[in-house]
């Protein structure tokens, strides 16, 4: 586990953040701007004077200077050294690295840098710069990799490509990643764990599915974004209709994607407004995906009702009108069917 309890104050801003997160996978630090996400990350790296503790693997890193922490950092603006080549930037980190098992060949290969090594950094594109920055941070043999909105300066197609790289880092290099972002779709796509921040504090911390099923997230994303994440296993593919069949706790769903690996685990994202509720299993309906579920919790909000549905081990959120909820006499504990209109496949898990 990674445990921290850090306080920073400068001027009118105060950070007072504590949390405990697993020392594996990607922890997204999410929140509105000025919530203190970057300040927290900088405090963890030792770039911001902070009081408190930061424990990882028996060491208290808070007592160390930034250059002694063994924590990698990828800045939003890459911050490559312009007086060195790409290889020179990697060497700079490697020369000062802790003892570690990551080989330079492996890093260069994983980030596709072989053709760039001799290049001068001034001529690199935005995506290339971030790839070099990630490789450079890995060359320090970090015990933890901190990333501060590393894709926010990139255009969309490039963003998807770099995000794909980032989500593979914990698995490929066996190191935990803290990832600061203000984009909820990035959280849905790559996070395993989420820290929700506001006003310099961690207001919610948990596995990504739990956080997405938590209504406290709504204040950060707006109802339009509210939804749930489900984990599913790929069963088969129906090329003719461009569908894949995936199983969520034994229930088969059709998702409009092909090319998924059989038996791969995938993450599905279902927006709450795309979920309808039926008392009986319906027939003669265009919606193909129906999951039996039990109402765990309900909350009314103006003209709408938020319904939290327990389906096996997973939580599905539905947002329906309050009038419908009354007409169907929905109550916690009732057995219903969740109708899923649209399902997005966010990520292939491994």
């Amino acid at each position: 586990m990674i445990r921290f309890d850090l306080a920073v104050s400068h001027g009118s801003f105060a950070l007072d953040a504590r949390a405990e997160v697993p020392a594996c996978g990607i922890t997204a630090i999410f929140g509105p701007s000025a919530a203190g996400k970057s300040t927290l990350l900088r405090a963890l790296a030792g770039l911001e004077a902070a009081s408190g503790s930061f424990k990882m693997g028996g060491d208290d890193l808070a007592a160390l200077c930034a250059h002694q922490r063994g924590v990698g950092f990828v800045f939003q603006d890459a911050r490559l050294f312009s007086h060195l080549s790409v290889a020179g930037n990697l060497d700079y980190a490697a020369k000062r690295a802790r003892a570690g098992a990551l080989s330079r060949e492996m890093i260069v290969e994983a980030l596709g840098l072989a053709p760039l090594l001799a290049r001068h950094v001034a001529g690199l594109s935005g995506g290339e710069r971030q790839r070099v920055a990630i490789a450079r941070a890995l060359c320090t043999q970090p015990r933890l990799l901190l990333m501060d909105e590393p894709v926010s300066a990139l255009d969309l197609p490039l963003r998807a490509q770099i995000l794909g790289l980032i989500e593979s880092l914990p698995r490929r290099f066996g190191l935990p990643v803290f990832y600061v972002t203000h984009a909820i779709d990035e959280v849905a796509r790559i996070a395993d764990h989420v820290l929700l921040m506001r006003d310099g504090q961690v207001v919610l911390s948990g596995p990504v599915q739990a956080v997405f099923a938590d209504e406290r997230l709504d204040a950060f994303t707006g109802h339009f974004e509210a939804g749930s994440l489900l984990e599913a296993v790929v069963q088969s593919e129906d090329k003719a209709f461009g569908l894949s069949l995936v199983a969520v706790d034994g229930v088969e769903l059709a998702v409009p994607v092909t090319g998924l690996k059989k038996h791969a685990r995938v993450r599905l994202r279902i927006r709450a407004r795309d979920v309808a509720i039926a008392l009986k299993k319906p027939s003669g309906l265009s919606i193909r995906n129906v999951i039996p579920a039990r109402i765990a919790q309900m909350r009314e909000d103006g003209a709408h009702a938020e319904v939290f549905l327990q389906a096996g081990g997973q939580m599905i959120r539905a947002r329906i009108t309050r009038a419908s909820a009354h007409e169907l006499k929905l109550k916690p504990g009732m057995k219903v069917h969740a109708l899923l209109k649209t399902i997005a496949v966010d990520r292939q898990l491994f």
């Binding site: 790296a45 930034a66 924590v71 911050r79 050294f81 007086h83 700079y92 802790r98 941070a137």
Partner: protein, 211 residues
């Protein structure tokens, strides 16, 4: 015709001055570039004073100071005194370009270096200084050239002792005073060419660095 001792003394003084100014000026410029103390503008004003003050004012106060120190170490009308005077006189020409260069580099590369395992001193030599190289060149050239061209302060605290305090500019002054225009022409022409060569080299270097 040529006053070789004066030329040699001028070069020696300028080189020594720039060397000492780098040792003192680099840390000072670094501190000025990044400090957040409220009284920083006062220090900046002090550093810049020699740019606006008549050299005679600086020379006058230095003479007074040398007077107080004369029982411990005689400085007035000595080479050592000239060095001290030149340090004050040329200070802004070394510190200001360095401060500007450090500020241009900013905190970013320093932070990046720290996250890569470099201590502050390590990062200073391996990242900040190479990135601020233009500032170093400018400081070197301006500090040296400005000391070569020193006159008023030298006249006040150094006088005109051959081989000890008689610099090129003093030699020219003397040549003119004694109506030895031939010598004045040669020495003045040399200084003119030297200054032009130095400045055009500097501007050429800067233009190349911008490209």
């Amino acid at each position: 015709m040529m006053d070789w001792p004066a030329i040699w003394l001028t070069l020696e003084l300028s080189a020594l001055t720039v060397l000492i100014l780098f040792l003192l000026g680099v840390p000072l410029a670094w501190w000025l570039a990044f400090t957040r103390v409220r009284w920083k503008p006062l220090i900046e004003a002090l550093v810049a004073l020699p740019i606006v003050l008549p050299p005679t004012v600086l020379g006058f106060y230095l003479l007074l100071a040398f007077g107080y120190a004369k029982d411990i170490v005689p400085l007035a009308f000595t080479f050592e005194g000239l060095v001290i005077a030149s340090l004050f006189y040329s200070l802004p020409f070394v510190v200001q370009p360095l401060q500007q260069a450090f500020a241009d580099v900013g905190r970013g590369p320093m932070e990046a270096a720290a996250t890569l395992g470099a201590s502050k001193l390590d990062a200073f030599f391996t990242v900040i200084s190479p990135l601020a190289i233009r500032g170093y060149v400018t400081a070197l050239v301006l500090g040296f050239a400005h000391t070569v061209g020193e006159f008023g302060v030298v006249l006040m605290v150094g006088g005109n002792i051959p081989g000890e305090t008689r610099l090129l500019s003093i030699s020219i002054y003397e040549a003119v005073e004694t109506l030895d225009y031939g010598r004045a022409h040669v020495l003045s022409g040399m200084l003119l060419l030297f200054s032009f060569a130095v400045l055009s080299t500097l501007f050429l270097l800067n233009r190349r660095a911008v490209k």
